[in-house]
Amino acid sequence: MSGTTLYVALVAFGVLAGVASGLLGVGGGTLIVPFLTLAAGLSQHNAEATSLLVILPTAIAGTLTLRRRGVGDPALALRFGVVGAIGAVGGALLALALPAGALRIVFAVFVGLVGLRLIYDGRRAEARAG
C-alpha cells in the first residue's frame, strides 16, 4: 500500500486497535506491530517503536473514559504501571542475553492455556447463572 490508501488504512486499523485496547486493557502492540510490518512495510524494530508511541495516547484516552465511568482505580493503576515499567526495562536487558525463539514458544503455550481457561470459566459462570 502507498500514499492516501495507506493512511486511510492506518486510521481505520487504529480504530480497531483502539477498541481492542479500551475493551481488553491491552496496549494493542500485538495487533499494531504485525500490521505495520505487513501493510506499511516497516522493519520489526521500527514497527515496535512506532507502536509504543501509539499505545501511550490510546491508553490515556481509554483510562480517562474509564475514570468518567467510575471503573477501576486509575491512581492505583498508575503506581502498578511504574513497577511494571521497572520490570520491562529489566526484561529488555534480559532479552539481549537469552534465546528469544524458545522463550516465545513457551510463552505462546502459556498464553493459549490461559485463554482456554478464561473461556472455560466464562462458560461455567454462564451455565451457573442459567
Binding site: L23, A108, G115, E126
Partner: protein, 136 residues
C-alpha cells in the same frame, strides 16, 4: 455497572492498608519483565495474573492493566525514542483512529457482562498465542 462498582470498592478496601499491594508489585515486575523480554504488550501478561493470582474481578483487571500501560509505554518510548526508530507519520495516522477507538472500547468495558468479557479476552489470547507460535 453496580457489580463493577462493588468489585472496585472491594479491591480498594483490600489495598487500603498499603499504598500498593505486594501481589501488585510482583505482578508488575513479572508482567513488565515478560513484556520487555518478549516484545508483547504488558496487558496480555498482567490481566490474567491479576485475575488468577490477585483475584481481581475481570473488569477491574482490564481497567488496572490499561492504566498501568501509561507509565510502561512512557518507559518504552524513552528507550526507543533515543534511538530514533519511530515512524512519526504512521504513528499519527494510527493515533487519530486509536484514540476514538479507545473511548469506544472503554465504554464497552464499562458495560459488558464480565462472563462475556472473559470469553472475548480468552479468544483474543488464543489468537495471540497462535500468532506468536507462527512467528516464533
Amino acid at each position: 455497572m453496580r457489580a463493577s462498582a462493588a468489585s472496585a470498592a472491594t479491591s480498594r478496601a483490600r489495598l487500603g492498608r498499603f499504598r500498593i499491594d505486594r501481589e501488585l508489585v510482583a505482578i508488575g515486575v513479572l508482567g513488565g519483565l515478560l513484556s520487555g523480554l518478549l516484545g508483547v504488550g504488558g496487558g496480555i501478561v498482567m490481566v490474567p495474573l491479576l485475575v488468577i493470582w490477585a483475584r481481581y474481578g475481570q473488569r477491574d483487571a482490564h481497567a488496572a492493566s490499561l492504566g498501568a500501560i501509561i507509565p510502561i509505554s512512557i518507559a518504552g518510548i524513552a528507550t526507543y525514542g533515543v534511538a530514533g526508530h519511530i515512524d512519526v507519520r504512521a504513528a499519527a495516522a494510527l493515533i487519530v483512529g486509536s484514540v476514538v477507538g479507545a473511548r469506544l472500547g472503554a465504554g464497552f468495558l464499562a458495560r459488558i457482562d464480565e462472563r462475556h468479557l472473559k470469553m472475548v479476552f480468552g479468544v483474543f489470547l488464543i489468537g495471540v498465542a497462535a500468532l506468536m507460535g507462527i512467528r516464533g
